[in-house]
């Protein structure tokens, strides 16, 4: 198996963009290609029976069968681990497959998991509706309420989970406090940092044990593939990788190549998402038809201080409330957008817009929506890579329509 480039394994840490372009890759690749080949093989051949026996007995680092790993996938796993400052990364077919892979590996019947309640609702739903069938107990406490989280811990607690920033409220977790609770009680901690990305925030540096990404979003960055990744210490992830080999939620070599290609421009894209997010948030805050803007880069944001202290930038996601608007008037703003397109997801080149009430909470009762903090007049905008002037002009005409 090829060795990663020595340059990026050196003593001094190269610049972020240098890592994005080169980390994890061999300097000299198969066929002397400058880019990694896409290896579509479902299985890998052995020269002889003795080679099979050597592989098994000596645990030789080589491929065996597609479900256990792919050379291109290992390159991207190394690249993502280095960008995140972790030892090991494991790729999955989606962000949900990644968190399910970790939870299934870490939790047994009788174990408990505690979530901050602004975590991605599908992650919480998997625990409360499905892991519960196997005897796993899920507890939820208010986001960023560290006392409540600590108070919910029992001798059976195995994992503390949060997202940061959260979606769509963009609450920012104080990772020092969060990680400290885990350390104090010897419980593993997991942060879903999909909205932050390693460009803006590196949870492992704060002592968090696992970082999760829906790589579909900023990491891949072009709205054209699904992927998920878990990053952390090698020993802690070894059983997780083994379980992936059994459960089989692996990604395809084609997707993995597109993810690798997307990562090459990762720093540039994040700089632009951060700039667009901030400029759009500032514009929205100054617009008379906007009641409130949720964006960690604004001084008015409840978590601005912790965000400023821990994050390089604040990403492209901006949530806002339309003043004195009912759900239909809010939908009219969404429908009037011409650059932004109506769709779920975020993190790609194209700006996307959605009304959480309609897109994600349509089947919830009004009481539940109130409980989740999803008012009828809320709009979530995922700023893409377009020129900020065009995004602002588009929002202005949509709000003035």
């Amino acid at each position: 198996m090829p060795k990663p480039s020595s340059l990026v394994q050196g003593q001094t840490r190269p610049g972020f963009s240098t890592l994005a372009v080169h980390a994890g890759e061999s300097r000299q690749k198969l066929g002397d290609s400058i880019t990694d080949p896409i290896i579509c093989a479902s299985t890998y051949t052995f020269e002889s029976t003795q080679a099979v026996i050597d592989f098994i007995e000596q645990k030789l680092p080589r491929e065996e069968y597609g479900r256990y790993g792919n050379p291109g996938e290992r390159v991207v796993e190394r690249k993502l681990a280095q960008l995140e400052g972790g030892e090991e990364a494991i790729l999955y077919s989606s962000g949900m497959a990644a968190i399910v892979g970790l939870l299934m590996s870490k939790l047994n019947a009788g174990d408990e998991v505690i979530f901050f309640d602004e975590c991605y609702h599908r992650s919480r739903e998997f625990c409360s509706k499905h892991l519960s069938r196997f005897g796993v107990v899920t507890r939820q406490v208010p986001a960023c309420d560290y006392r409540a989280m600590e108070a919910a811990i029992t001798p059976n607690t195995r994992l503390l989970v949060s997202e940061s920033p959260t979606n769509p409220h963009l609450s920012v977790v104080d990772l020092e406090q969060f990680a400290a609770i885990g350390k104090d009680h010897e419980i593993d901690t997991l942060i879903d940092a999909t909205l932050a990305t390693p460009y803006n925030l590196r949870p492992l540096d704060f002592g968090v044990d696992f970082v999760l990404h829906s790589a579909t979003k900023y990491l891949a960055g072009h709205n054209d593939l699904l992927a998920g990744v878990i990053i952390g210490a090698r020993d802690k992830l070894e059983p997780v990788r083994k379980l992936r080999g059994i459960l089989g939620a692996i990604n395809s070599p084609h997707n993995i190549y597109l993810l690798e290609r997307g990562l090459k421009t990762f720093e540039l894209r994040m700089q632009r998402h951060n700039e667009n997010g901030l400029r759009v948030a500032q514009f929205l805050e100054s617009h008379p038809r906007v009641e409130r803007v949720y964006y960690p880069g604004l001084a008015s944001h409840a978590y601005h201080d912790v965000a400023r202290r821990t994050m390089t930038g604040f990403g492209g996601l901006v949530t806002f409330l339309v003043r004195d608007a009912d759900w239909r008037q809010t939908a009219d703003v969404v429908d009037a957008a011409q650059v932004a397109r109506i769709a779920p997801s975020l993190g790609g080149a194209e700006t996307l817009i959605e009304q959480p009430l309609v897109m994600s909470y349509y089947e919830c009762s009004p009481e539940d929506r109130r409980r989740f903090g999803i008012p009828d007049n809320m709009i979530r905008l995922a700023c893409g890579l377009e020129n900020a002037e065009d995004l602002i002009a588009d929002l202005r005409q949509a709000l003035d329509a």
Partner: protein
């Protein structure tokens, strides 16, 4: 809409059937027709393919044209443009054109009875003197390879207009982010889409862009008749690359400028050829016709012979030793041994390609890392 917004949205309309935010890759070779004798928008993929058409629409918008054609390579695009001419007609081309174009003009196009004259395109009088009553096409490139010579596109367009000939510009090195020749009066823009447009060293492709429908129709007829079209997967990858084109090119230019300034102050370097340096002979024109940067290609000459230069290009740890350019990975090469090795020493000397010349294609890596890499390699 501004450049970057158009790069993302023009030609990338949502798929009406599925709603997909990224248009599907249409791999079909043929398309089902409504009835015998009735033709739908697409019939056979050589004549037109939805994925290729999307890319062509984006390229036309970015170059400030109206129509574009995507080809299997830059050479396929160039060849198509030369097939506008007939036996007895004449092409004038710059002396600093791409070697592959030189070979095409002198070994293939000439066999069809088309004459070719090369003239220094930095010298308008020399260029005009080369034009004959049979001349139909003026072919230029800016910046030129490998000395980063700058040709005044607007002045050439004025000359071409006066002499009633077509001006074609190979805009590969500048990309439409920096220079849009159609807006300066050229009739045809050619690209090796392999370079900045694709941008990730993983596609071969070419393009022609025009503003005039009649000229497009003639070029389309040739492309359809000769078949050097770009495939759907590669069309998709180029379209995907275009979404970050402006970000990449602006950043790569910024790093190239800083590297040029660094090399200029290094005693181991005899001279630096980069249009962004005030001492470069083309700086003034470049400042006028390149917007947002002076390109991400730069050359420099070592205080050293062929062997020393060979050692330096082999000693980098980050720059990779390869021809081609325009991608996220930085590349290094020695023109005398690689891109221009087919020239004999006398011809190389005539073109200003010394044994100590090194050409860099600056990628997206961090400036500090690239500078440190050159710094250590120069001692090799």
């Amino acid at each position: 809409m501004k450049f970057r917004t158009r790069a993302i949205h023009v030609g990338n309309a949502r798929d009406a059937q599925s709603g997909a935010v990224v248009p599907p890759i249409h791999v079909a070779s043929t398309f089902v027709q409504p009835a015998a004798g009735q033709w739908g928008q697409f019939d056979y993929s050589r004549s037109g393919n939805p994925t290729r058409a999307n890319l062509e629409q984006t390229l036309a918008s970015l170059e400030g044209g109206t129509r574009a054609l995507a080809f299997a390579s830059g050479m396929a695009a160039t060849h198509c443009a030369t097939m506008l001419l007939e036996a007895g007609q004449h092409i004038v081309a710059g002396t600093d054109i791409y070697g592959g174009t030189y070979r095409l003009l002198h070994k293939i196009v000439n066999r069809a009875g088309i004459r070719v004259t090369l003239a220094n395109s930095q010298d308008l009088a020399a260029l005009e003197a080369a034009i004959t009553p049979e001349t139909r096409l003026l072919w230029i490139e800016s910046p030129g390879n490998p000395l980063m010579s700058i040709t005044d596109i607007a002045a050439c367009a004025e000359l071409a207009r006066r002499r009633r000939i077509l001006l074609a510009v190979d805009n590969t090195f500048a990309s439409p982010v920096l220079t849009r020749p159609l807006e300066l009066g050229a009739q045809i823009v050619m690209h090796s889409a392999t370079k900045y447009l694709g941008g990730h060293s993983d596609v071969l492709g070419g393009a022609l862009v025009v503003a005039d429908q009649e000229l497009y129709d003639r070029l389309y007829f040739i492309q359809n008749a000769t078949g050097g079209v770009l495939g759907p997967f590669d069309s998709f990858l180029v379209s995907r690359g275009l979404k970050t084109l402006e970000l990449r090119v602006v950043e790569q230019c910024r790093t190239a400028q800083r590297l040029a300034e660094f090399l200029q102050t290094d005693a181991r370097v005899r001279r630096v050829l980069y249009p962004g340096l005030p001492a470069h002979p083309g700086h003034e024109i470049a400042a006028r016709q390149m917007h947002g940067g002076f390109g991400a290609m730069l050359s420099f000459e070592l205080e050293g012979d062929f062997e020393k230069t060979r050692r330096v290009v082999g000693a980098t740890r980050l720059f990779q030793l390869a021809v081609s350019l325009g991608a996220v990975e930085s590349l290094i090469e020695q023109p005398a041994a690689m891109s221009h090795a087919s020239y004999d020493p006398a011809a190389r000397a005539a073109h200003g390609i010394s044994d100590g010349l090194i050409r860099l294609s600056v990628g997206l890596e961090d400036f500090d890392d690239l500078r440190d890499d050159l710094h250590q390699a120069l001692d090799a």
